[in-house]
């Protein structure tokens, strides 16, 4: 009955506007990171730092790191952004995703006694799904939108995985549900996100 509900419509329109704005921002940051690789422009780097630094720190805190460590790893992560910017491939990831993976790897390093092995994977030359720069940011925006529509039980297992770094068994124990249920919720969530990913492209 959404069509007969002018207020609902207004809310939806507002949400759509917010999502459009987010999508534009995401594209801009992705372009900024690609530009940084060529120009090594410190002013641009400072802008990236101002945007991503506080989000990176928030993520590290959610993973359970002490405040001081979070500040320190944020520095390391943003230093990696500067050092590795030329390895960033906008056709494969948005700026957010790339910075997420850098930070995640640094956190794994810190949590393990041994050095984290960072694996160089083969470059997929003939990638049938090769996307244009910026297109990845659009896909990611769809993903973000889709996450908002997940049922609570599915969103919860995603949050526990990504934000708290919990394994399947740890999540099962925390929620008091069987291991198989944790996995099927993750599968369902991923399936729905993929529908958005593929359906609208």
């Amino acid at each position: 009955m959404l069509e007969d509900d002018p207020e609902g419509k207004k809310v939806n329109a507002a949400t759509d506007l917010a999502h459009e704005r987010q999508a534009r921002e995401r594209e801009n940051w992705t372009r900024a990171l690609a530009t940084l690789a060529e120009t090594r422009d410190r002013k641009l780097f400072a802008e990236l730092f101002a945007h991503f630094g506080p989000r990176v720190k928030a993520y590290i805190i959610r993973l359970g790191m002490p405040m001081a460590t979070a500040e320190e790893i944020t520095q390391e992560a943003m230093l990696s952004v500067w050092r590795k910017a030329h390895l960033f491939n906008a056709a494969k990831a948005s700026a957010s995703t790339w910075i997420f993976t850098l930070t995640r790897n640094l956190c794994i390093d810190r949590m393990r006694r041994e050095r984290h092995m960072e694996y160089e994977l083969p470059d997929d030359k003939a990638d049938p799904q090769e996307r244009h720069d910026g297109e990845q940011a659009v896909l990611e925006q769809r993903m973000r939108k889709a996450i908002d529509t997940l049922p609570d039980a599915q969103a919860q297992v995603l949050f526990l995985s990504y934000y708290e770094g919990k394994s399947h068994s740890e999540i099962a124990e925390q929620l008091g549900i069987p291991l198989g249920s944790v996995k099927s919720r993750l599968r369902l969530a991923f399936g729905k996100l993929k529908q958005h990913w593929e359906g609208e492209s």
Binding site: Q75, K92, S94, R104, L121, I147, S167, F190
Partner: protein, 219 residues
């Protein structure tokens, strides 16, 4: 390489979110090295992480954070682009996936294999985590006792093949099973089977023989 068994989505999500024990992460990276299909899926699960990073409420950094960082920029060197990964030679059946080769540091036949039962040898990689990470080398015709799992068990076939209730697994394939699967793999050619196995909890053997074998195999 002809890969027909891949990871569960739930496993790739744990890989992307950084929540796998070290040995399981090594095994996933090793399969990804061989499998373009799973690499594309991992880009997708990484993207969930990017979207969730964006969704977080920012937490203020220290006042001098930017200053400190800018001061360090001159001291750091720009990391050189990595050398292209070596061309995969599918004819060389002894080639290990690069992530595993880096951890082992020597050819698979030179490792200190230890006999753990009739026709079965193993090498424990001694990695951290709640489960175990081992290489298992099983002679033709030998079967691993019937077992179920308390947690997740990942297997990557490095040489040879085996068959179990789920299907046939060959070099490059992964078996991704958990508590709900009870299986009894058997090496199904005259070639030995070598696989990397990583768990996040101990296995549970069923039946008398299984219970007797458990202390020896120690999985």
């Amino acid at each position: 390489m002809n890969i027909s068994h891949h990871f569960d989505d739930a496993t790739l999500i744990s890989y992307s979110s950084g929540s796998l024990p070290q040995g399981m992460a090594l095994l996933v990276a090793s399969h990804l090295h061989w499998c373009p299909e799973c690499r594309v899926r991992t880009e997708e699960t990484d993207t969930i992480g990017g979207a969730l990073l964006d969704a977080l409420a920012p937490v203020a950094l220290a006042d001098d954070a930017l200053e400190q960082l800018l001061a360090r920029l001159d001291a750091v060197e720009v990391e050189p682009a990595p050398a292209p990964a070596p061309v995969q030679n599918s004819d060389n059946d002894d080639e290990l996936p690069a992530p595993l080769a880096a951890v082992l540091g020597q050819p698979i036949d030179a490792l200190p294999w230890r006999r753990v039962g009739y026709g079965v040898q193993q090498v424990d990689l001694g990695l951290e985590g709640p489960g175990a990470t081992r290489l298992l080398r099983i002679q033709p015709g030998i079967s691993v006792p019937h077992h179920t799992h308390r947690g997740n068990e990942l297997t990557l076939i490095l040489r040879g093949s085996y068959t179990d209730e789920v299907g046939r697994f060959q070099r490059g394939d992964v078996a991704d099973v958990d508590t709900e699967v009870q299986h009894q793999p058997i090496v199904d050619t005259d070639q030995e089977c070598i696989c990397l196995i990583a768990t996040d909890a101990p296995l549970k053997f069923s039946g008398l023989i299984g219970r007797l074998a458990q202390p020896f195999i120690g999985l």
